[in-house]
């Protein structure tokens, strides 16, 4: 591990703080797309910078990067497999009557409606 000594850590840190400011400023434009990019795009960049410059993942043996990527890929798999029925309020031949603007008070009432509902899915 030698190259790391050429990294100017303070500079990296300054960059991270700068990006932090951007992500905080993002929502002030009140544009959803901008917010998403500034929030999560920048989070990704920041995470990469920390991993590369502070954790030295690029200097460590290659398999470390593989290990981490595998973990992340499996999480994407999990999301892809679970989202179609956990995230959706309605799917093929099923729907969740209680899932419109759920709040604690309304929930019971909505579930009752769910149980004696007027057919909402039409096939």
């Amino acid at each position: 591990m030698s190259e790391e000594h050429h990294i100017n850590y303070v500079k990296v840190w300054a960059w991270l703080v700068g990006l932090l400011c951007v992500s905080v400023a993002g929502p002030m434009f009140e544009i959803k797309v901008v917010t998403l990019i500034t929030a999560f795009g920048i989070a990704g960049v920041k995470a990469y910078m920390v991993a590369k410059n502070f954790m030295h993942i690029n200097i460590a043996p290659r398999f470390v990067a593989y290990m981490v990527t595998t973990g992340l890929v499996f999480m994407l798999l999990f999301f892809a497999g679970a989202a179609p029925d956990v995230m959706e309020p309605k799917g093929e031949n099923w729907f969740k009557p209680g899932w419109h603007e759920v709040d604690i008070q309304g929930a019971e009432k909505e579930l009752e409606e769910g149980i004696f509902f007027k057919d909402q899915v039409d096939h």
Binding site: N93, I115, F116
Partner: protein, 234 residues
Amino acid sequence: MIESLVPAASTYAGDIDDLFTLIFVLVGFWFVLSEAIFFWLILRFRKKPGVAGQHITGEKKEEKRWITWPHLLVLVCDVFIIVGAVTVWYDIKQHLPPAQETVRIVSQQWAWTFVHPGPDGELDTPDDVTKMNELHVKVGTLYHYKLESKDVLHDFSVPVFRLKQDSIPGRVITGWFEPTMTGEWDIQCAEICGIGHALMGARIFIETPEQHAAWLAEHGAVSVAALTPPAVEE
């Protein structure tokens, strides 16, 4: 094969039994073959005085093909099974043929509530007939069921239909079946639902249209009162 154990009383019971036979034949072939070779090798290569084992790495191509070819053939069989499984699944669970009548099935700890459409054939009308643990259907009629649960997971299972569907609280699940022969059989709860899981048996009565009409006439009047939600709650 399954039919010799349980009668097949729905339009798609036959498909499932055929799929079973298909898989049984394909898989059975490989099973018998490999077990036969396996035991033959054990007998053939028992330790004999003066006969040493051979040094085979299995890394050479001509050796490897002894396992490569079989497993490619297994892959072919898999394709057939996948095609069969996917088509059967699509017909039963995904594709909904238009309904002639619709029943609502509400599961709770530990009983089934079946809401039958009354003589007018429409659900959620005053003449609906609500019954606990008794589902009455007409033979040769295509039913949709609306499956709901009040508390925990249950599973609406009718072995003679080869039908199973979990009921999930907070979801309304629609499915279909079409009875093909008259009779009286079990409805099970096939998802553990607490202490009374074993008590969640119900009966399905598949009747001729005449019998069904008679049954409706008999119970319709009573259950108009019982239709109001509180009555179903109990």
